[in-house]
Symmetry: D2
Subunit: 397 residues, 4 copies
């Protein structure tokens, strides 16, 4: 067992930390941040800075123009990037692009990669992932997928309504999940400027950290050539898992950075602000919150590191990424909520970065599977495992 | 013991409930709601509707033009009003006016009441309460007050900086808390259009339910005639307590209404939305959250009722209002957080009223004394009480 | 609304408080307390003292020899009695006798009352309630009842195995729940010395406050005359509800007394014990626990009072008693757990009464329905209520 | 980064697991277990079995007769040993001997080791650690030490009262902490059969897993030769830290084994026990508890591994061992409390091993520093660290 990071990872960590401090944090509160995240101009400025610093799209393969980071290396670098709410945008590692890039690397053909992936890794384009639907369609339960794909000659014709499509506005291409006539699901690639794609509106969301916000997309007889199927027909649900397990974990990493930022701000504030005769931090009630923050941050980091390492060993980590997602989203949330409390009035205003971390982070306990869905999925696996062990024990006896 | 409400209160409750449903909720999401609360035009429309319904400023005395409600009656009516985020504005029972009206009734002279209170009770004017200051001034610890008042002839000259002054922008008059040369504190009444008062800026806040938002006010050689002292010179801290104990409780009441609204929305949603083969509400994990909500709502209501009844008996309720404030602010917050979770993606967007309840309510665990300050104040009283009892026991022995 | 207690109840409360302090607490740690509760000799001594004080079996009807207390009066008196772990035994208001007496008053015939109830109210005899069974029988889910009753001439013949039968050892009579051939359930009355009843063993339990402990009872061709059916044949499940709703609430009352005792001990200890330069109670971390205790105790008391008052109005309170049971069992448990923590090493040893309160109370979150079963039952009722309201709304429209 | 265990550690883990399953668990509920832990006869039988299995005192140095395990290896082996409440006794790794052995290895002279340590490592003798005192002496705050040591010729004369001295009854030697005339503290070694040592009583404790229970020891003019000072005069507080940091962590390890055992029992039970139409484990409410258990167990294990690895790197880990102690004691406690709840009535009786785990484990949140003391100590270090960083930043600027 060994918790040492390689010198390469340490160098990258330190470089990312300096980059965020010197190049990214000064752009926080730039006028180009809107209710729907940094606008394209700000995004391009951030991406340009990361490119210059050699930190752009570090999780993409070397072949595609990234740094080919391992999952453990991502754990370290993404946490650093997450220290600013603009950091993931700068490094091009934000949802949904981060997960889409990973999925494209795994499943797309050479032609598809050259057409859609290479410019995306270069930070020139953006993508969205069109899966979630309004009731009665696919939400926490993806099997309720209603958007349909029907074969028509060399094309598929797609009809349906999607919402909570992060980054839809302004994105260049989409990965669309649709139900086939046999009930299976398929993923399709499509440029966003095709006829048949309408952005009905951008949703009013609590978070404001994703460029493009969260859109409502309608597909009306959208024609997609069969060559633009992503991977194989009928394997959509399986690919969704391929995408999700690591994507979940990268959320844990980025938000860990945000939670650490909140904690640092609260620590600094409580060291300096006096109340009832001494600095806030010297009140036990506040000190306990600082200690609890440290415990939660370290717990999150250990779960991330362990799961990342298992992914690096080639494990699928469906169980482990569910567990890490619940542990991290809840621990990191507790940290940020405590920071708001310690900051008092300043915690609920824009006087510090913490208010935005609070409103940006709440959705993390919900997306990529609410805590409740992961808990249930974990429970079934624990029971299944116990059944198998019991059966093996009885067989052996 | 008797939990029956009088027929009068029941009638008022039912009337308020209908008024909110029919006259107020339809105005939610009106374009005149801004980041800093309903604007003056919307406020006047709401107030006008309440006036027509005979529900305006119901906590003010009959003499001043209110309904002269008891604390128990307020508990019932304010909860109903709180069912819409616009309800307290409509009934003219929102912070800080609600508490200022109460304080003015208790302490102001006849002339002061006629000048400032009567038009406020009529819903024509608004006020703010200028106490909180940036570090190193008065925050959770009011004794750190830095704004100074110096006697100069028949006037006092006020200098200082205040922030988190709810409703400052657009308010007609202010109650200003300042430190005297002898270290005591005094409250002053002043019109807001006097020279020496500058609204430096309106703060960027997580909540958006208070008309006027939260301002930063600077007083520069503000001259206030001695006749505009509120109550007696040097009794500012005592009056702050007079204002705070019931004011805290009315927050509990209004937010209980908002929490109940969130719960009703979540209950309705989970009854209808299917996942994994059945309505969400038929999943135990969701059902447990509904049950926990009911427990928390009822707990909050019981604490409010009990404390309100004690206030009606003439008790000061410093301890009880602290206790109710902590219990209610935390129980009601848990309810709203659970509702966000049950609503999934919709909980973190403007698709329902719950997102706004969540962002509007977070500050409640902080203002009028953060939970931590109330817990500590309660602890000291518990210890003091035990010491007195022990001393009495020893004296008796 | 009115939280005032009548002078009669106040007098009874004060008398009970003095009785517990002077007559009962001195018998705590008497050698006649065993792992299975106070033995019969100690029980008779305690009961004798309560009889002399005019406090014996106060919840029984005047007709049967009790004081005919209302539910609200019980709330007050039982809390006082619960201040000592021996108090409920002294007043003859402990489980299962308390609930059995209530059920007998409601359902038994005149003859049955004279034979079994009158001596029990007089404190001369004890009873048990034989419902719970080992897997796969009736546990949290009573419908899984396996013990069978078969009609044979004028008798019923009972066969089955029961466990967790509180007070079985040494009890004089039992109420036995058994399944009829048609699947319904019936309650039977039987003396415990009949052939066919075997106490297989007394279970090793965490609690030690119930005289007779918790027994495993086997019924082997136990013959019970049809005249000893309690109430009507086939109404067993309904009577179980009649018994349970108020019985649950009396647990809340008695354990509230124990929780208050623990709190008083912890408050006293932390006022006196020094650490790190000041009394423990002057450390915020400890002070916060004292404040949380006060909140939890008051929350429990308010739920008890409200539900008791509703029972006094003739409501069935199935929902409310479930809610009170969850709220109180969890709030009171938190209090006791905090007290253990505040007492440090003394909390986990017999140096104070708190250790016993901790081990005695843990089962309260389980018996009479675990928290999970009540939460689920509440959820179904909330959903059902919402469905009815929605249907009524649509019908009205 | 690497979470792989070496083949040696894996072999030892598997061997320990088999040993516990086959040689130790069958001795649970042996009649020789008393309220004060396994008696000497049972202890010797267990130790004999571990010796035969080559698993005795594995943390002691090879030189002294142990296996010379690293901290990481201990983390793995101690968790396995902890799977039975008798396992730590069998392997001779229970408190206080485990920590005393570590301290003796670090500080004792060659002669002291040969006299006291070698037979202890061989499992022939036992020791106790006499530090804690009744009020107003040393408790959570060790600086309040009252037991005095006064030089008299070649001896020291010790007077004082100690309590909560685990294993005192029947132990062969003690490490005694006493205050010098200059206010510093010194540790002394003494055989327990010397004149001047009286075991006043054995305390009635909630736990029952330590041989010898918890004693009250009085020292009356106990004479100890200066050669029996442990380490240097005046360094007692420093040695207490040397002992405590790793000792705390070994508690985390052993109790992790107990928590895992409880979880396995609850998982097995809920897989089989039916209620409301399906196995308990298929109810979401129960499934969520199983998932939460898995999260808490894994969190505890990760904190233990990380801190153990840091200790292996030569770090002192005062902060990290405090953090691990709070995280593990609270996470493991939650696991066990949930298991009691899932087991229903069986959780609060001796029908399974869980009841004993519950009552044995509660003290873990208190001993070796209550959670509150560790939180505060962590907070001060976080603030101190931030101050240093701020000063460095300012110096650099």
């Amino acid at each position: 067992m060994n918790f040492t990071l390689t010198p390469d990872i340490c160098e990258l960590r330190d470089r990312t930390r300096r980059f965020i401090a010197e190049q990214v944090i000064p752009l926080e509160n730039d006028a180009r941040e809107s209710r729907h995240g940094p606008d394209e101009s700000l995004r391009h400025e951030l991406v340009g800075r990361a490119r210059a610093a050699g930190l752009l799209t570090p999780h993409a393969s070397l072949d595609m123009g990234g740094l080919g980071l391992s999952h453990v290396a991502k754990a370290v670098v993404f946490e650093e990037a997450g220290y600013s709410r603009l950091g993931p945008t700068a490094l091009n590692i934000h949802a949904p692009d981060e997960g889409n890039i990973h999925l494209m690397e795994e499943v797309a053909t050479h032609e598809q990669k050259e057409r859609w992936l290479r410019p995306q890794v270069a930070g020139k384009t953006r993508s969205c992932f069109a899966m979630t639907e309004p009731s009665p369609g696919a939400g926490a339960d993806p099997s309720m997928l209603e958007t349909s794909a029907v074969r028509d000659g060399d094309d598929y014709v797609i009809n349906g309504l999607k919402w909570f499509i992060t980054g839809a506005e302004g994105s260049d291409y989409a990965i669309v999940m649709a139900r086939m006539e046999d009930g299976s699901a398929t993923m399709f690639l499509t440029d966003m400027d095709r006829p048949g794609i309408t952005l009905e509106r951008n949703m009013d969301a609590m978070d404001a950290c994703f460029t493009g916000g969260h859109g409502v997309l309608r597909f009306t007889n959208l024609r997609i050539p069969a060559t633009d199927v992503l991977g194989e027909v009928g394997k959509g649900f399986r690919y969704a898992q391929v995408r999700l397990a690591p994507a979940r974990l990268t959320h844990c990493m980025r938000w860990l950075g945000q939670a650490r930022r909140a904690h640092d701000i609260a620590l600094e504030y409580t060291r300096r602000r006096q109340a009832f005769g001494k600095p806030l931090a010297e009140h036990e009630g506040v000190g306990f919150m600082l200690a609890d923050n440290d415990m939660d941050l370290h717990t999150a980091r250990l779960h991330i590191w362990h799961t990342a390492w298992m992914l690096d060993q080639g494990e699928k980590c469906n169980f482990e990424s569910s567990r890490a997602k619940v542990v991290c989203s809840e621990a990191e949330w507790r940290v940020v909520d405590r920071c708001v409390q310690m900051l008092g009035g300043q915690g609920v205003t824009g006087e510090t970065a913490v208010m935005r971390i609070f409103t940006d982070m709440r959705a993390f306990r919900i997306y990529d599977g609410p805590s409740e869905v992961h808990r249930w999925s974990m429970a079934r696996k624990l029971v299944h495992q116990a059944e198998k062990a019991a059966a093996a024990g009885e067989a052996a006896a």
